[in-house]
């Protein structure tokens, strides 16, 4: 059996390793278009902080890891897929044939259509290549504008602040983290950032960038101008699906996949940031561009590709974020479910916030600020759909009883020995 995997990010690599275990005799080829050994994008911020070197971002550290497993990692770019022939065309001219194909090409940073986005010093923060360019301009004290205060933007912000750059955040939405935090949480994070010396401008729009001496000048819709040395653009991502246009693979925002991570085309699967798959919370199909989903997708897609029919329960949208020392997390339907109930604890001065969302007596979503202990149980409670019974009312009275509720309600959990 010939397995071909497009994309050498976490989804692709985990799929390759899983295939190797599940089908020791099969041939496994991973095609990645980046020059470095397979790495994790999400480690880039720590590279910028200089906690790690580039090799610290690598997905696997063992010398000859892939070769030892008999996984071929090929540097090239897929340009087209032809399901009829079961081949993939590569930019280098070669063509690969497959029995099973996994599309794990991830996503790329989206750049808004604003004049000047192509100037040197205006960078996205998506690849190691991007990171090198950013690092070259990260002189202590340098002024930098971060466009976009979404999840990725906030992670990058952490790195910028750690390197003592003078940061201004410009976010179009009225609050930070519009898709991961509600108003209360977003406001707290913004206030926290300001307290740490980061200027935060929400409801602000960059209308153009131009070169100004050694630096750059940004114009804002408000008419103001900002002089900086570096602009980092973190305004969103787009799945890498262009090469599939003519393939017949069903596409929406991403590659549509079912509960086995299979596309509409026989033998073709998709995983990770590129895949629009079952959403645990809504039952619909969604892109959850996060590491745990990439890992789960990769593994389950591979099992299915190898013939071990495995049902995927769907991905849970969840994030954890450290914004200048303030840890926040969000899970599932944090914005609430129709007809559901809510438990809230807010300590604005202490930067602590916990919001739980229930449907019937089941936890379906949560937001947390300043909570680092045992946060995983929130995922556990959501994903097992544990019925909380009388605990729901207790949690509405005090959401921090979450650990007690978990220990009481989890069947056969360690709690009960």
């Amino acid at each position: 059996m010939d397995y071909v995997i497009l994309g050498a990010g976490p989804a692709g690599v985990i799929a390759a390793e899983t295939l190797r275990k599940a089908d020791p005799a099969g041939s496994v080829t991973v095609v990645g278009d980046e020059p470095e050994p397979p790495y994790s994008r999400m480690a880039i911020p720590y590279l910028l902080i200089e906690d790690i070197g580039e090799d610290g971002t690598y997905l696997r550290h063992g010398e000859g890891h892939y070769a030892d497993l008999g996984i071929e990692v090929r540097r090239d770019r897929a340009t087209a897929v032809s399901p009829a022939e079961r081949t993939v065309a590569l930019a280098g001219g070669a063509s690969l044939s497959y029995d099973r194909l996994l599309i794990a090409t991830g996503s790329r940073a989206a750049v808004p259509p604003i004049p000047g986005m192509d100037l040197p010093g205006v960078e996205t923060c998506w690849t190691l290549e991007d990171a090198r360019k950013i690092a070259a301009r990260m002189h202590p004290g340098a002024r930098v504008v971060l466009m976009g205060a979404g999840f990725i933007g906030c992670i990058v912000l952490q790195a910028l602040a750690a390197r003592r750059l003078e940061v201004t955040v410009v976010e179009m939405a009225e609050r930070m983290l519009p898709r991961m935090m509600d108003e209360t949480g977003g406001e707290m994070i913004a206030r926290w950032c300001e307290g740490q010396g980061v200027a935060v401008r929400t409801g602000a729009e960059v209308t153009g960038i131009e070169a100004a001496g050694d630096g750059l000048r940004l114009s804002l819709a408000s008419g103001e101008a900002l002089e900086v040395e570096l602009v980092i653009c973190a305004t969103g991502v787009r799945p890498n699906i262009g090469f599939l246009d003519a393939s017949g693979v069903a596409l929406d925002a991403g590659v549509l996949v079912d509960h086995h991570l299979a596309t509409n085309v026989d033998g073709v699967y998709a995983a990770g940031d590129v895949a629009q798959g079952p959403d645990f919370s809504t039952g619909g199909q969604a892109i959850h561009a996060i590491q745990p989903t990439a890992a789960e997708h990769g593994r389950i897609a591979a099992l299915n590709m190898a013939g071990q029919r495995t049902h995927y329960r769907g991905s849970l949208a969840m994030n954890v974020l450290n914004t200048l020392g303030l840890v926040s997390s969000s899970f599932g339907l944090w914005m609430g479910a129709d007809g559901g109930q809510r438990a809230v604890a807010v300590d604005a001065a202490g930067f602590k916030y916990l919001r739980l969302e229930f449907q019937d007596d089941v936890l379906v979503g949560a937001l947390a600020l300043g909570l680092t202990r045992h946060v995983g149980v929130i995922r556990g409670l959501i994903q097992t759909r544990i019925r909380l019974g009388p605990w729901k009312e207790r949690l509405i009275a005090d959401p921090h009883g979450i650990m007690a509720a978990y220990l009481e309600c989890a069947p056969g959990g360690a709690a009960r020995g």
């Binding site: 985990i14 994790s40 999400m42 480690a43 720590y46 906690d51 790690i52 610290g56 971002t57 690598y58 997905l59 696997r60 550290h61 509960h259 590491q291 745990p292 890992a295 789960e296 593994r299 389950i300 099992l303 029919r309 495995t310 049902h311 995927y312 329960r313 769907g314 991905s315 969840m318 994030n319 954890v320 450290n322 020392g325 840890v327 997390s329 899970f331 680092t372 202990r373 045992h374 946060v375 995983g376 149980v377 929130i378 995922r379 556990g380 994903q383 097992t384 650990m403 007690a404 978990y406 220990l407 009481e408 989890a410 069947p411 056969g412 959990g413 360690a414 709690a415 009960r416 020995g417």
Partner: protein, 161 residues
């Protein structure tokens, strides 16, 4: 035969000797805030539940780690965090559905139970036998597994699955 921690909350008096033993072993200081095992107390102290990682088969934390900082110790079966590799992204802390891998603000890394390399200090310190280290078969592991499977992102398909 691999061994695992058997916890019997009914015997626990909530003395926290286990938490001190754990933090002392891993941090060189008596400091329950840094213990990998945590005793939860409820109902005016009536119930005390010692709680830590079961080294679950799914190893969610390990799967989710972007930089292979968590690996399985093949001798003990424990998932171990390599501090030098860990970047502190905390993804594992939300991935583990048991909440047993936790961020340590002071080091910027995560901590979890590593079975002390096969000789768990908590079990040795426990004066009541609420924690013992026994052959995995005896720990009611089966029940724990059943619960873990429910958490599982996957479920092997039944008919039509």
């Amino acid at each position: 035969m691999q061994k695992s921690l058997l916890i019997d909350p009914a015997k626990c008096t909530s003395c926290l000797q286990c938490e001190m033993a754990c933090s002392f072993e891993h941090e060189g200081v008596f400091n329950p805030a840094k213990s990998r095992i945590k005793v939860f107390e409820f109902e005016h102290g009536l119930r005390a539940i010692p709680y830590t990682c079961t080294q679950c088969a799914e190893a969610w934390c390990m799967q989710a780690c972007p930089v292979e900082a968590i690996t399985k110790n093949l001798a003990t079966g424990a998932m171990e965090v390599n501090e030098a590799t860990c970047v502190g992204c905390k993804v594992c802390t939300i991935a583990c559905p048991f909440g047993t891998i936790n961020y340590n603000q002071s080091t910027g890394k995560v901590i979890k139970c590593d079975l002390c390399g096969g000789d768990p200090e908590c079990a040795k310190a426990c004066p009541t036998g609420a924690i013992t280290y026994v052959d995995a078969d005896w720990t009611g592991y089966g029940r724990m597994e059943a619960w873990a499977v429910k958490t599982h992102a996957e479920a092997t398909a039944g008919p039509g699955g």
